[in-house]
Amino acid sequence: MELTGARAWRAQIETRVAGARARRAFAFPLSLAAALAVGGSSRLGRAAEPLSVTASLETGSAEVGDVVTLNVRVVSRINGSVEVELGTTDGLSVLSQSRSESTAISWSSNRGQSLTREVGVRIELEVERAGTLVIEPVTARVGRTSAKSSPLKLRVALGRAPSSPARSGAMTAPDANEAPLFIRYRVDGDQAFVGEQILLHLEIFARPGLNFGLEDRAPAPPELDGFWREIVFQPQRLTRRDERIQGRPYHAYTVWSVALFPLSAGARTIEPVRMTFVRNRSIFDAGQRLRRRTRPRMLSIDPLPTEGRPADFVNTNVGDYTLSARVDADRVQANKAVLLTLELRGAGNISATKLPEVTALDGFRVFPPTLEDEVQRGPGGVQGAKRAEILLMPTRGGRLEIPSFSMSIFDPLAKAYRRLSTSALRIAVDGNITAQAPGSSGPSDSAGPPEAAALSLAPIRFGSDLGAPGGPHATTPWTEPWFVAGLALPWAVFVAVWGSERLRIAVRRQTPARRRRSTARRARGRLKEAREAAQAGRLADAYSAFLEAVLSLGTEKLGVNLNGQTTEQIQAALVDRGAPISLVSPLAEELQTADFARFAPGGLEDRNPDKVLERWEHIFAALEGFEPKEVP
């Protein structure tokens, strides 16, 4: 029996043998001796056993709900397939099995060839009850030969409490076909008001000890009709936390979290998403693919109540907010401005909220505000602040008061409208406000030396958009490389187009040698068609193609159109130009046969196509090689 590791070794040591009990002090040497006697890791032991099976657990202890792995190894020296049967396991349920096989061939001088087959079976078991569980021996069979492993023990304790508090939102248990790995939507509430923040999480739940991974990238948060959506959490690496669902421990992972803000009332459904996982993947095993799907989630969105709705309420001001106001100084010199900051802070769709408008204040000139949003997104949702900074210029000296500002919000937690108010602020203005200098239409910006203050200037400019296109005039584009390239490029393209066209025309111009070559190529093509027709038994077609081939080649060679001429005329033309008799005679014969074939195609049936082809090849080659004499 092969030793597989320290834990497995200890598990094997603790097995009971035929009801006998060994004292722990002597268990080690006795078991070792027994193991070696039965057939240990030595070659001698292996040679004696035709079939052996070993079973081991990856751990000797677990908790209820854990997944433990049983590894079985079978070594067979017998021909035949290996069957492995798992014994009954009370308190354990089989989740999955995977099997691998390998075969080794060895030679020895005394025994010759021997075949050794090794089968490995990996079984995942879910622990269902506490106590000391016994895994019955695993039986391996090859034909009539069988072997059993030793039984194994597993000590099981009750589970621990989860390390983090369970999240809000009901979580349904998995179906039988989904355990031990499933995915779910988690929502912090199935009912909400229009504009109220709803947190939606996509989570993975897996039994502890389960070896799994994602096959593909996690699905992105879906776009949902009827909601404004903000992604608040989407980690690159999933972090594990412990949870219990109906008393069973799970490892939970949040894939992403989004904050949803309903835009209108009614029933809404969040459609399911799918994910694919792989279990027990290793370099030896592709693993088992698992496809999982969430269940659709129904949400009920209620309209904001009409009863008690304030007249100044704005629909986007829904959330848990506070309103505050502050100034940057409570005492200023004459002709100096103060900065008033109004801030709305809290949890909700802060970017969409609207602050109260500050248009006119007694004793102040009010300038347009600068608005700023500070938004934080996290697993707890969207929160932050909206600020308005308003410049106020006192128009008189003395004690001035900035009144309190109010606005109405809808608090979804209280399910009621609330009035938010700031406290009034007091500013002391020292000195007298000087009259506006003639010709200046804006607030005085006088300060510094007296002569500078007395100077009447047009006031400074407000509200420039320094990022607007065409604003900056500093660049000199004519010196930039892009300008020259941009001007030159289209003309370069035009020249290239025109030039390539001229080049193509020049290349394709027909010279006499080029024309002769193309004619010869075409003639050879027709000869090939003639050959194919002859081989197919269509001699009439073959002769027609042959005739065309030699006439076109002969026309090109002699410079005289041979089409339409009689055989005698063609013969005479060839002879006049010095064609040898070995070419002229057979050619004339074939031309006559071709004429005959045109009018009486049936008369060619007794001809041997092979001999015909042979003659044609000879004639064609001679015609190709014929160089006609110059005409005086």
């Binding site: 100096k336 410049l391 002569e451 047009a458 296109p469 584009p477 004519w478 941009g486 490029l489 289209p490």
Partner: protein, 265 residues
């Protein structure tokens, strides 16, 4: 040339042309980083001015200019900040630069008059009286509102359109090619004129005299003095030799003075 080949070339040209149009925008924006930050700083500088902290405001406006926010409003407000700090020459230089970018701004002209009047209240001549010299002055009101980058980009597009029309013409679509060609020719002429106007204006080098100084007959302090250029006066640079410039005052008189007495605008 067959239609397929021409279509292929036309497509390539269109792609190149469209790509070229994005270059100047990218180029311009590369010099003005984070527009939101610049706008925020502009607002902060405004607030400093309203609180009477002109020196701090001037520093912030200078920082904006260093970061590439070259804008007539920035120069104008900087001029006001300098003026409130009694830095008259700096104020005039800033206003002149603002006027260069926006020649039609009446408030800039008014503040220039006010500050120059403060510098030389007894002067009979108006240092910034409009000068009718040169083609640059004539084209400036028409050309200045169009940014240089836009003019240059439009010129590149016009050339591309002209070539495109020639290619279309060669495929046999004479009517379409003719119409496209005529339109692009007009566009090319227009954009060339604007670009030429900008080029003229750039060549029209102007400066402000930093201190009341003598104009000389030649490019050296040993030459005889001809007239005087008052501090804050705007001059046009006609010629440069070494560290001396021949300048022309707004009243038309010319003379030479050292580069150290001038600030280009």
């Amino acid at each position: 040339m067959n239609r397929r080949t021409t279509s292929g070339w036309l497509t390539a040209l269109a792609v190149i042309g469209l790509s070229a149009t994005s270059l100047p925008t990218r180029w311009a924006r590369a010099e003005v980083f984070a527009p939101a930050t610049l706008s925020r700083d502009f607002a902060s500088a405004r607030e400093l001015m309203l609180k009477g902290e002109a020196k701090s405001a001037a520093a912030l406006y200078e920082s904006l200019l260093e970061r590439g926010a070259v804008h007539p409003d920035v120069y104008f407000n900087l001029g006001n900040a300098y003026a409130r700090s009694a830095r008259w020459i700096n104020a005039i230089v800033a206003y002149e630069r603002s006027l260069r970018l926006d020649p039609t701004a009446e408030d800039t002209k008014a503040n220039l008059r006010a500050v120059r009047g403060r510098l030389a209240p007894n002067q009979s001549e108006a240092p910034d009286a409009p000068a009718d010299h040169g083609l640059a002055d004539l084209v400036e009101p028409w050309v200045a509102p169009i940014s240089r980058n836009a003019a240059a980009a439009a010129l590149v597009i016009a050339h591309a359109a002209l070539v495109l029309s020639l290619l279309v013409f060669r495929t046999g679509r004479r009517v379409l090619g003719g119409v496209l060609g005529a339109a692009s020719l007009v566009f090319t002429l227009g954009t060339t004129s604007v670009s030429a106007g900008h080029y003229l204006m750039e060549g029209d080098a102007r400066a402000v005299v930093l201190e009341t100084t003598a104009l000389r007959k030649g490019p050296d302090s040993r030459f005889e003095q001809t007239t005087e250029a008052p501090a804050g006066a705007r001059v046009r640079i006609l010629e440069s030799r070494g560290t001396w410039h021949e300048v022309q005052k707004t009243d038309g008189t010319t003379g030479w003075l050292s580069a150290t007495d001038l600030e280009r605008v």
